[in-house]
Symmetry: C2
Subunit: 168 residues, 2 copies
DNA sequence: GCAAATTTGCAACATTATAACACTTGCTGC
DNA sequence: GCAGCAAGTGTTATAATGTTGCAAATTTGC
């Protein structure tokens, strides 16, 4: 599997989108789930950038392209996409972002730039392990995680402090 | 400093509350912040249990005791309490919980029982470290964290599976 | 084709949070 | 004490986010 492009660096974003859509189609086919036109369109809108989209942003975009949808339409599509792990909801932003590890059954760790809004999803075994240990130490049985880190992405960091070297 | 009682175990909860209020008064005095009647009352309501409270729950409780407040009153009190680290907001629940490490300038890790609603706040150096490492590996500069783990607390685990031994 | 199940459309509504502006309270310097 | 100012509170209205319930349309399995 090819390394995915980092959202921070310029990349052929159309390729991101078509890859995500192709993955989604595969996953849905395998699980006998129906990736209907609306669901696919919502997924595509979410993938239009690496910035999370609110449900009402999606609604507005659908509206501006003639599909006059009501909130439940969007929320149902989002529920479906969440259920199949194709998108994530970012609780700290009330917004949705495309899942870059679709099909891997994971809890992501999200790095959210409060400057430009870009989100990078990571998997980190050490983080998962540390959390699991901490929970176990309290006899707590973890089932789901919301891990959202807010800060400055490398690009915005560089802008804020142009002299500093980049460890990129 | 005495070990704090665990929310999961029966404890003298009045002591939790009065400790929290005393801490709050100290912190506010030190920082020349005004812990007014409303702010203190909101803090007390939040500490009434180890279950997070929604802003509108607080509003309702204030109402039921004759103080007919409007949403901004509650949200302003909450903003104040958040600012001085006396409460935390749980993004995954849209609710507020008392900070059990007030004054320590920290990001908590929250273990949220989806059965009984109880929340335990932890500090975990290994978790913080792992997250910091993961962020740094992406040249991302972390500033704030939302770490909320949903699962089963020991008490509810025991109820769900009475035969299992407790590693308490 | 047809019955059943799933999906979508739609209207209304619920919940969470904020804006704007007037009024009150408490502090500061004199 | 008290004028003047900043901080805090009250009140109304409204914005933003998310859900319920039911009917119509579409798809699926047979």
């Amino acid at each position: 599997m090819p390394e995915r492009a980092l959202p921070y660096r310029p990349h052929n974003h159309d390729a991101c989108v078509s890859q995500a859509l192709a993955d989604a189609r595969t996953i849905c086919r395998e699980q006998n789930a129906r990736l209907t036109a609306i669901r696919e369109r919502v997924l595509e809108l979410i993938w239009q950038s690496h910035k999370p989209l609110g449900a009402y942003d999606i609604l507005a975009q659908l509206g501006s392209e003639g599909h006059n949808a009501a909130p439940p339409t969007v929320y149902r599509a989002l529920d479906f996409l969440l259920q199949y792990g194709l998108v994530h909801r970012l609780a700290s932003l009330n917004a949705f972002t495309g899942c870059s590890h679709a099909g891997e059954n994971h809890h992501g760790l999200f790095l959210i730039c409060h400057q430009c809004g870009t989100v990078l999803e990571l998997e980190s075994a050490p983080v998962s392990q540390a959390i699991d240990d901490a929970a176990r130490a309290q006899a707590f049985q973890p089932e789901g995680a919301t891990l959202e880190i807010s800060g400055l992405c490398p690009r915005c960091r560089a802008e804020a402090n142009p002299g500093a070297p980049s460890h990129d």
